[in-house]
């Protein structure tokens, strides 16, 4: 094997440029909007206020306590 010479040193940056096509994980700024939803997608609406109130929530434990 011959020792590395100056021409080999010049070849290194060329190889680096070829190998330097690293993948980009971050996206281009102009693509950001396409990755952002403009609004929420609501699959289900919550129950109406009266229905929600009638199901108790936090009041339930204290009512149970009062009953005891």
């Amino acid at each position: 094997m011959r020792p590395a010479g100056s021409r080999d040193l010049l070849a290194l940056p060329v190889l680096a440029l070829i190998a330097g096509c690293a993948r980009h994980v971050v996206i281009d700024p102009e693509l950001v909007p396409s990755h952002n939803d403009r609004d929420w997608t609501v699959h289900h609406e919550p129950a109406a206020p009266a229905a929600a109130a009638s199901t108790g929530g936090r009041d339930l434990p204290s009512k149970v306590g009062e009953a005891q």
Binding site: L9, V25, W40, A52
Partner: protein, 209 residues
């Protein structure tokens, strides 16, 4: 003489790219301080919100938080997160909601019909320099999919993506940190505003305290 010139050119062509910020040791980035997140306000009006911490980690590359590069666009070392991104983003959102005036509870809180529960997944969290002719700009991307639901029936979801760029001449650890911090602040601002807008549509939600 020719040999010396070639040698000098070779060494210079290898050394110059490193002057623009090539590094061979990992850089650590950490979440921004609480006081650097969204401005304190009362838009939450004391409404209850449960935030599940951490979110799910759905990133393609879960082994690191980013990469450092040399001027040839070659990866030279990793960027690491001091806090896992799934916890980083969820905790930042919880803090942001608290600063916005919500009463933030942890996942162990008992279910209440009108109490919103926020959970999600981190789809992207990566810091990477954009190598230009004269500048070396770390960019931080944060992608999140949020889900908000209540026992009373609400089920909503939304995708978010945030990008922050720090323009600089050299790639230093501070620039990677600045990009990550700015992207986090933008993410918190965007997600908190979105949660406020969603819950404001349903006055019956969140007032069970």
């Amino acid at each position: 003489m020719t040999r010396d010139l070639l040698l000098a050119a070779g060494v210079t062509s290898l050394a110059l790219p490193c002057a623009s910020g090539c590094a061979f040791v990992p850089v650590d980035v950490q979440p921004p301080p609480t006081q650097e997140l969204n401005a304190a306000s009362n838009v939450g009006r004391g409404r209850d919100v449960v935030v599940e911490i951490p979110f799910e980690d759905q990133r393609n590359d879960r082994g690191r938080c980013g990469t450092q590069k040399n001027a040839y666009n070659m990866e030279t070392a990793d960027v690491r997160c001091s806090v896992a991104p799934a916890e980083w983003v969820a905790h930042a959102l919880a803090t942001g909601l608290q600063r916005a005036g919500f009463h933030v509870l942890t996942a162990g809180a008992p279910p209440v019909p009108s109490r919103a529960r926020v959970h999600g997944e981190v789809t992207q969290f990566f810091v990477e320099p954009k190598v230009n002719a004269l500048t070396f700009d770390p960019e931080a991307d944060i992608g999140v999919r949020l889900v908000v639901e209540t026992p009373s029936g609400l089920l909503a979801e939304r995708r978010f993506y945030f990008k922050a760029t720090e323009v600089s001449l050299v790639g230093t650890e501070d620039n990677f940190q600045a990009a990550a911090s700015t992207a986090t602040r933008e993410a918190v601002d965007g997600m908190v505003s979105a949660v406020v807008a969603l819950l404001d549509r349903y006055p019956q939600l969140g007032g069970a305290r």
